[in-house]
Symmetry: C2
Subunit: 360 residues, 2 copies
């Protein structure tokens, strides 16, 4: 087991990465203060791992909530179901929530923990690659609104993250690829060596080589933990983690939550961000080609859905929360391994990027 | 105008108290960073004060949301209406929310501000006595759940509080009395001199003597600001502000939100807390008599609703968020002006208190 630390003063917490962590009761017990525990999971994960988690929690009163699978269930309705169970069980502000699942479950459970009785502790047990390398770390929690993704949320750090890499064995191929999109993102924004390593290792990662996966997760979490420690509330450099996300959120909202996996939408968005960066003269065509090629080799989509017109894209992107006071602000690239802070982008090159695909 | 300060490090903010503050544009402008403003108010307050507030906001893009009046609208549905308007208007994370109204509007707007895009700034303009002396100060925000009051919320401090005492001229008598319940609470929990002053001044306060009201508001806010500055997140002494509230929340939830005003339910709850404190031998019958008499002179109810049985009371109180891990913890009195920290109470004296009224 490898342990990293997210350094946030009195909210500092560990990320444990390794195989078989789900069976180690002491890792749970170290981070549960009261006697009441609620496990939130989904219908796909519950049959695979819920019993094993419950087996570690025998010293506690434990209840569970099982949400249907899919991004469309990262909703206020799901959060209200969690609140309802907590209240029916008379759980106090000393209760601990456990998120067992992917990014949807982690974001939803974290949001419920942030708001129940104005904040109770929670533990992240990410079971997808995407959640292990990104969403379980850093304390961003949210539910979606029909008009925009992650628009209702809170910063609420977990007490610990338990990333059991053995759970990736049951992950569908499509979700493995979606997770690799966020892994590749770290290389792109701030870790050019890691990008090179990914170019060399992508086939092994897709073949689920355990050592390669463990290393990719660790390196991703090191990057994420450093960025979060430097800028917890995203007033500065944390924004670079959103590379491709304003495009990606537009795709997710515009096509209906669930049509694209988050990582798939981000992969397309990173290609669009690279294309736009090249149009602004900040990176060259070779870089765009390398980025697109690596994402394609990771079996990710790199072309936006043809049903989203440039007009609709602009409309959807304007809602995204990275946009301050109406100006459209995007994270772009100055090179592979070097993201910008948010930059206000002129309409004209942006429209060229949006119109390049399909109808271009 | 009198200005107090809630000392919370980089979240320190002023409370301005005085007449005519609604017409002073500079008080708004000092605390609005972006160009987008959303005013949230209710159907009673809007016709009285919304235009005056909008007149101060001409430099900004301003939208407003008008919620129906009443505690039953301090709900997630109302919060979703606020989120919907913010998103339809494409408001960014640089938008400022303004709460114009009583405690329901302040708590609801504060919660929406806490969660919209993981937190945007907000300003409190309390227009009821209760909101001016209590709920607008200290950053507790929440909506109610059908199973429990204030169960979904966040700590989110406002950028400033503008308490225009002239708005109390339009306040219904019943709401004036409800506000006095929280004023009396400060005397009871930590300010015995203030309690004496209230005994001497209660008739003048009910007659809405402006100088007496202004002094009562200021002294209440000084007390609240000191408690909040010492214990923002209620890990210790802030809990004493909940005197009477666990009983009161049970009454509000048990009788349906809106049947009792919050201050009315708290008045009954403080009488119950005093009765229980006397049963434990901590205060004497004379103290209980003085407390009950002052609340009655303030035209507040002092006897719980007969339809709530002792069993139902215990059931409802067990849900209240001050209760940690199942034990029933209450704020009680060691004297007038001296509240306890939360104490675990035996069932037997508690039931005696609950059964004393109506069916006793």
């Amino acid at each position: 087991m490898k342990t990293l630390s997210v350094e946030l003063g009195d909210r500092t917490y560990p990320i444990h990465i390794g195989t078989g962590l789900l069976d180690r009761a002491e890792l749970f017990g170290n981070h549960i203060a009261g006697r009441q525990v609620l496990v939130v999971t989904n219908q796909v994960v519950a049959p695979l791992y819920l019993d094993r988690v419950l087996a570690q929690l025998s010293p506690y009163r434990v209840e569970s909530v099982v949400i249907p699978d899919g991004e469309q269930h990262k909703s206020m309705e799901s959060a209200m179901a969690v609140f309802g169970t907590l209240l029916e069980c008379r759980y106090s502000r000393n209760a601990t929530l456990i998120a067992l699942g992917g990014g949807v479950i982690g974001d939803l459970t974290g949001f419920a923990a942030a708001c129940y009785q104005r904040g109770v502790p929670f533990i992240q047990i990410p079971t997808t690659l995407l959640a292990q390398v990104d969403s379980s770390v850093g304390g961003k929690t949210a539910v979606n609104h029909p008009l925009g993704k992650n628009m209702i949320g809170a910063f609420h750090q977990p007490r610990c993250v338990l990333a059991d890499t053995a759970t990736l064995a049951t992950l569908p191929d499509r979700e493995l690829s979606a997770g690799l999109a966020e892994v590749i993102k770290y290389g792109l924004i701030r870790d050019p060596e890691f990008f090179l390593w990914l170019e060399a290792s992508i086939d092994g990662l897709l073949a689920r080589d355990p050592e390669l996966l463990a290393w990719a997760i660790e390196r991703s979490c090191v990057n994420k933990a450093q960025v979060v420690a430097a800028d917890e509330k995203e007033t500065g450099e944390r924004a670079m983690l959103n590379l491709g996300h304003t495009f990606g959120h537009a795709i997710e909202t515009g096509c209906g939550y669930g049509a694209y996996l988050h990582g798939e939408a981000v992969a397309i968005g990173m290609c669009q961000a690279a294309d736009l960066s090249a149009r602004l003269g900040w990176i060259d065509a070779v870089d765009v080609g390398r980025i697109t090629a690596l994402l394609e080799r990771a079996r990710l989509p790199v072309i936006p859905p043809p049903e989203l017109s440039a007009d609709r894209f602009v409309d959807l992107m304007a809602v995204d929360k990275k946009n301050v006071d109406g100006g459209l602000r995007l994270i772009l690239l100055r090179g592979i391994g070097q993201a910008t802070l948010p930059v206000v982008v002129e309409t004209s090159p942006l429209r060229e990027t949006l119109e390049r695909y399909g109808r271009g």
